[in-house]
């Protein structure tokens, strides 16, 4: 079990995370928050790349900083920006990382072959990575994270660059892996975690807002989400009045999915909230400010 206890992280005067308390057992955990919310900071602390300003992170009761290489031996990590060496082939790069992970060279060779098959890169195993697409590089990253068969798999934005087919395959892979390990998946793409995460962690204002199942989190906005048809002329005004969650053009009018605490009107059709609705509701300030920036 991985335990985050009262962890605060400051960078000089800037407070990135405060009083974070989390508990991870085997299963998939979706760390969901917009960019800049502190996901990467938390993940970097879980991988010992950053050190908490206060508080501690324990694995099976032992401080991960004190565990040092004993802890890093059991983690697999895919960072948000996965760097690679252009002139290396996936095989040579993975063998290099296998050496750093303390895997015996003979075991590593077999393991690398196996993983390149898993991520469907076996046909380019010995090709230089400089000609690889973003999705191929990301799959090399996923393979390297699994090299040491980690007990804790930490993936920061793992689906970036993957096409829809690859995403589905990746989700299935994670579901299989999570049976006997902790999988922490950080993302701002709701669909990546909605179907596979046992629990979702949402961070807001540097603190953990929710750590719960998808259905429990959705229950927080139960009865507040509706769909309705709006004429094109009324669209702009509708957008300023309600928090629109999604919009669709159909048969000459707009179909709006929105959230409101107002009393329901007869033309509004109440719908079941999903995780994306919650995400947009919680981070609406962020969404607005993003829009304004754009």
């Amino acid at each position: 079990m991985l335990l985050v206890e009262d962890v605060t992280k400051n960078f000089g005067q800037f407070n990135a995370l405060k009083n974070i308390n989390l508990e991870f057992c085997n299963g998939v955990y979706g760390l969901l928050a917009p960019n800049g919310a502190g996901k990467t900071t938390l993940i970097k602390m879980l991988t010992t790349l950053l050190f908490p300003t206060t508080g501690s992170i324990r694995y099976d009761g032992e401080d991960i900083i004190k565990m040092d290489e004993k802890y890093r031996e059991i983690i697999g990590y895919l960072p948000q920006e996965f760097g690679y060496y252009k002139n290396y082939s996936p095989t040579s790069y993975l063998l290099y990382l296998a050496a750093l992970k303390g895997i015996h060279p003979k075991t590593a060779i077999t393991r690398v072959e196996e993983l390149l098959k898993t991520v469907a890169l076996d046909h380019v195993a010995n090709k230089k990575m400089k000609k690889f697409s973003g999705g191929m590089i990301q799959r090399v990253g996923i393979a390297q994270a699994m090299l040491n068969d980690p007990k804790i798999l930490i993936l920061d934005e793992p689906t970036a660059g993957l096409d829809p087919k690859e995403r589905v395959r990746f989700r299935n892979l994670l579901t299989n892996l999570a049976r006997d390990r902790i999988v922490i998946l950080s993302t701002h793409i709701v669909s990546d975690v909605e179907s596979i995460a046992n629990e979702i962690i949402m961070i807001k204002n540097q603190e953990v807002l929710y750590k719960d199942t998808v259905s429990n989190i959705c229950r927080n906005i139960q009865g507040l989400v509706y769909e309705t048809e709006v004429s094109y002329e009324q669209t702009e005004q509708f957008r300023t009045t309600y928090l629109t969650l999604s919009e669709k053009q159909e048969n000459g009018s707009m179909y709006m999915r929105f959230l409101t605490e107002d009393t329901a009107k007869p033309e509004w059709k109440p719908v079941h909230p999903n995780l994306e609705d919650v995400f947009l509701y919680i981070y609406q300030d962020g969404v607005l400010s993003d829009d304004q920036t754009a």
């Binding site: 950053l50 290489e69 890093r72 990590y77 895919l78 960072p79 920006e81 290099y96 992970k101």
Partner: protein
């Protein structure tokens, strides 16, 4: 395995390999430029075979007899051809005679080579007395005073210089007693071999190795940060201990590069210039004295081959110091180009430092105990080397002190890195 992979990063760098080959070619070019001296230098080997290297009473007599015999043989030849005889071989080269003789083709190529060899032998014969007189009259304390006056040293600094030269004085007496100065060697004023080998070639090799070492040490230490693989790398089991591997690999690679540069360049040098029979000549021999007439007084009685190996060893150690300096800079600055530039700035600052010291302070002398100043004067390593650096263990103290200080600094940076946020 990890170290092997780190080493692979260095050797697979085209810049490092390209520069290494370029430097070797440049060194070969330098040797080639000097190679016209090789035939004249080779004249010494038959003399040494005939008389040995030591020019004591017996050796000198043998050389004199051999020289007179050769001169007689030459005079017989010249008498039969032109009716002339010569008191010395040098007379043959008087411009008023020489050019007309050459133009009239009286002498064959081989005969001209013979007189050339005889002239060289004559130079060695004539030098012996000059060397003996010079060493018998040598007063290092006067040299010290001359240096003190020249550089305007005063007070404690001047006193320290006198103290060091006083330590050197018995060594000069010992040197004369051992007759170290009377061993035949390539004539310094004619060939300047010591300057070419230990100033030009060693100087270039030192800087070439230094450029390569600073480049690849900065390159390897910052490799992960510059290729954006630091997050993956430092989250692995090996983690930040990888820095130890990098330090060890840089040190090993620096030794390898330096040894390779030295071995290849010196092999070419000694293939071109034949040193056979001269390897065991004391480095303090008076024959090495060059046009500046300053004798080479080593602190210990060491032979040429010993001196060569001692200098090679010191070059390797100096490069390890440069590895450590670069390593420490790279731990502070995560950009190899800035590290390379900063190393250059520090090097120049190290050379400039003594000039800002007061002339009456011993700090003026102690600021010379730096690897930057050390590498600028390879020609005078292990010997009297001017007022600022004539300390018996100058080289040993400099490298040991800096090695300890830099190892501690590197250790501190590695420990600090282990607690750094990445």
């Amino acid at each position: 395995m990890i170290k092997r992979l780190e080493f692979k990063k260095i050797i697979s760098s085209p810049i490092i390999l390209g520069l290494f080959v370029l430097f070797l070619l440049f060194n070969c070019f330098l040797i080639y430029q000097q190679s016209n001296l090789r035939h004249d230098m080779k004249s010494l080997q038959p003399i040494v075979q005939e008389t040995g290297t030591l020019m004591d009473e017996e050796g000198r007599q043998k050389l004199q007899t051999s020289y007179e015999q050769d001169l007689n043989t030459w005079n017989k030849l010249t008498q039969s051809k032109t009716g002339d005889t010569y008191q010395t071989a040098a007379e043959f080269y008087k411009p008023e005679l020489y050019y007309s003789l050459i133009e009239s083709n009286i002498y064959s190529k081989e005969e001209l080579q013979d007189i050339n060899k005889l002239a060289i032998k004559e130079t060695y014969v004539n030098s012996i007395q000059e060397i003996e007189t010079k060493y018998n009259e040598l007063n290092v304390m006067e040299n010290a005073e001359e240096g003190i006056r020249l550089f305007g040293l005063k007070g404690a600094a001047a006193e320290k210089v006198r103290e060091q030269y006083a330590v050197l004085k018995p060594r000069v007496e010992e040197l004369v007693q051992n007759k170290e100065h009377l061993h035949l060697f390539f004539h310094g004023k004619m060939f300047g071999t010591h300057s070419f080998l230990f100033k030009t070639l060693f100087g270039f090799m030192l800087f070439q190795a230094m450029i390569l070492i600073v480049l690849f040490t900065a390159f390897i230490v910052n490799y992960e940060f510059e290729h954006r693989t630091a997050l993956v790398t430092y989250a692995t089991k090996r983690g930040r201990r990888l820095m130890w591997d990098k330090l060890l690999v840089s040190t090993f690679a620096s030794t390898l590069v330096t040894v390779a540069l030295l071995a290849i360049t010196l092999s070419v040098y000694f293939i071109v210039f034949d040193y056979s029979g001269l390897w065991n000549v004391p480095i303090s021999t008076g024959f090495l004295i060059e046009l500046n007439k300053i004798p080479f007084i080593s602190w210990w009685n060491v032979t040429f081959i010993q001196y060569l190996f001692m200098s090679c060893g010191l070059v390797v150690i100096c490069q390890i110091l440069f590895v450590l300096i670069t390593f420490c800079l790279s731990m502070l600055i995560r950009n190899s180009y800035i590290v390379f530039t900063l190393f250059g700035v520090i090097f120049l600052a190290g050379l400039y430092m003594p000039s800002i010291m007061p002339k009456d302070s011993t700090m003026l002398l102690y600021t010379h105990f730096s690897p930057f100043i050390l590498v600028m004067n390879v020609k005078k390593w292990w010997m009297e080397s001017g007022v600022f650096t004539t300390f018996k263990f100058y080289e040993v103290i400099t490298v040991t002190g800096w090695l300890i200080a830099l190892l501690l600094t590197a250790w501190f940076f590695i420990k600090r890195f282990a607690k750094e946020n990445i």
